[in-house]
């Protein structure tokens, strides 16, 4: 039975490596890390951690002062990334889309913590400075749907404007649901992605309490995140945003759009077992669902961009699920966790890793897992890409995995554009 194909026609991001998708991919291929030692908080409440922040991001320069001033940083990152994606898709010019396509166009966005920096500012004002009033913008800056709302306004998109909050799977879910919207015929164009600016003091302290934040083995922050490694010690928090323009394939071709890749499949599931301990069976359900949806076989997969947070529990579970999925093909399938270099962008991780996976299938190159000196035997069985990336890879189908706290799983399948 024929069904609509979905093209990825635009890519945009703001991440610890900057705002250029090609520059990001090149840095990842070199095995470079953006993780540094950073101090979060202010005044008497500070904490130094290893993190991957968007240090050079100037919201006023990127968005204009009037727009940036009414946004939390989460929305600022989103707006900048989405603008890049929209421009990359060739949609920035007036009349690029018909009024009908514009009015039905959707925004599906993911974030785990939303306007959390605004919330911390409010609490600081009220409880530390005994203010009796706080900024009138607090609600509209802090609300989790702020980013998506701004994007709909910026691009005049009148269809569904939805925000998915599924922890680390938030933006992967947004991308996948965008696929479904276009296939259903609801719309021709969907702006999808995610943003996260979750490095305020209180939230970082909350992560510290979970005892999952990475430590560096040698004092060098860039060595802290070591997915699948025997000596891994946890995750590195990051911030940023990534956006993709999804478009009905025929619509994209008709307007002469450049197609980066095909979004071929999406699978989602829930472990329904534990809030933090992942389950291979649940992840396997999402993986199989994504493959079924892509009408593909395990042998078609050439690369997996792993969730790979470098936690002691999470990495082996993911590899176990991948081995179950791939069976006899497992040893031939390249896998890497790029979180080792750009950090864990939380609600935005699904989107930035989807973008990286698109670049991989588009360029026939797979980035490495940085800092992977010795594969933990519990994580063995797949073809771990280590050191620097591989080029000249015959890559037709790749997966991007997102496995979240709460047990929600989302897997995206990207196919090389024919």
């Amino acid at each position: 039975m024929s069904r609509r194909r979905v093209a990825v026609t635009g890519l945009g991001l703001v991440c610890p490596f900057g705002s250029d998708a090609d520059a990001l991919f090149a840095a990842l291929m070199r095995g470079e890390s953006a993780v540094r030692e950073e101090t979060v908080g202010e005044g008497d409440h500070t904490l130094t951690i290893h993190s991957a922040a968007c240090r050079d991001f100037d919201a006023a320069a990127a968005l204009g002062r009037s727009r940036a001033a009414v946004m939390d940083r989460c929305s600022q990152l989103a707006a900048a990334a989405a603008s890049s994606a929209w421009h990359d898709a060739g949609l920035a010019a007036t009349g690029a889309l018909t009024a009908e396509v514009q009015e039905s166009g959707c925004v599906l966005w993911g974030t785990g913590a939303g306007g959390t920096q605004t919330l911390e500012r409010c609490y600081r004002e009220l409880f530390l400075r005994d203010r009796t009033r706080i900024s009138p913008l607090s609600v509209v800056q802090g609300m989790n749907n702020a980013a998506a709302s701004h994007l709909a306004m910026m691009f005049g998109l009148g269809g569904a404007c939805l925000t998915y909050s599924v922890a680390c799977a938030s933006s992967a879910v947004a991308v996948g649901e965008g696929l479904r919207r276009i296939r259903s015929g609801d719309c021709q164009v969907v702006l999808v992605g995610g943003s996260e600016a979750a490095l305020p003091y209180a939230l970082v302290k909350a992560w510290e309490s979970l005892q999952v934040l990475a430590t560096s083995p040698d004092g060098d922050a860039s060595h802290a995140c070591r997915p699948f490694d025997n000596t891994r010690s946890g995750l590195v928090l990051g911030e940023g945003a990534a956006a993709l323009v999804l478009e009905d394939w025929d619509h994209a071709c008709a307007r002469g759009a450049r197609i980066h890749a095909e979004l071929a499949g999406y699978g989602s599931s829930c472990d329904h077992a534990h809030l933090t301990m992942p389950q291979a069976e649940g992840q396997l359900r999402a993986l199989r669902a994504a493959l079924r949806d892509a009408r593909a076989d395990p042998g078609d997969i050439g690369y997996v961009n792993a969730h790979g947070t470098a936690t002691s529990e999470g990495d082996p579970v993911e590899i176990s699920a991948m081995r179950s999925l791939l069976g006899g093909h497992a040893a031939n399938v390249a896998i890497s966790s790029t979180k080792s270099m750009h950090g864990h962008l939380m609600g935005a991780s699904g989107a930035i890793e989807a973008l990286i996976t698109v670049k991989a299938v588009q360029s026939g190159a797979v980035p490495p897992t940085a800092n992977l000196a010795q594969v933990d035997p519990a994580c063995a069985g797949l073809d771990h890409v280590r050191g620097t990336g591989r080029t000249g890879v015959r890559l037709h189908l790749a997966l991007s995995n997102s496995f979240a706290f709460g047990g929600s799983n989302a897997v995206l399948a990207f196919r090389r554009a024919a």
């Binding site: 002062r65 009037s66 001033a69 009414v70 940083r73 920096q117 009033r133 900024s135 913008l137």
Partner: protein, 92 residues
């Protein structure tokens, strides 16, 4: 996060204070913010205006009562804060 700078009030005119505050929210050079300028022409909508007035109250250290007519021009904001600025400067 934006760090608000509290300006010394002595000798500062209401127009200068409004200019400094508007520079955080409008993409226009401070010297072009003159009394006749319409707020909507420099990107100041109702939400931004509420935030702007909140910041001006922060700078002056006094609360401007509710129920006032909404400003449309820069001069409207100047007239609104002038008595409170004078009060704050007299108390300093």
């Amino acid at each position: 996060m934006k760090v608000k700078q509290v300006l010394p009030l002595n000798g500062l005119s209401a127009l200068e204070l409004v200019r400094q505050a508007l520079s955080h929210y409008a993409d226009v050079a401070p010297e072009l913010i003159v009394p006749e300028v319409r707020l909507d022409a420099i990107g100041v909508d109702s939400l931004t205006l509420a935030e702007l007035l909140f910041e001006l109250e922060d700078q002056i250290g006094l609360t401007i009562p509710e129920g006032r007519t909404a400003p449309h021009l820069v001069s409207d904001i100047v007239r609104l804060i002038e008595p409170y600025l004078e009060q704050a400067q007299a108390a300093a």
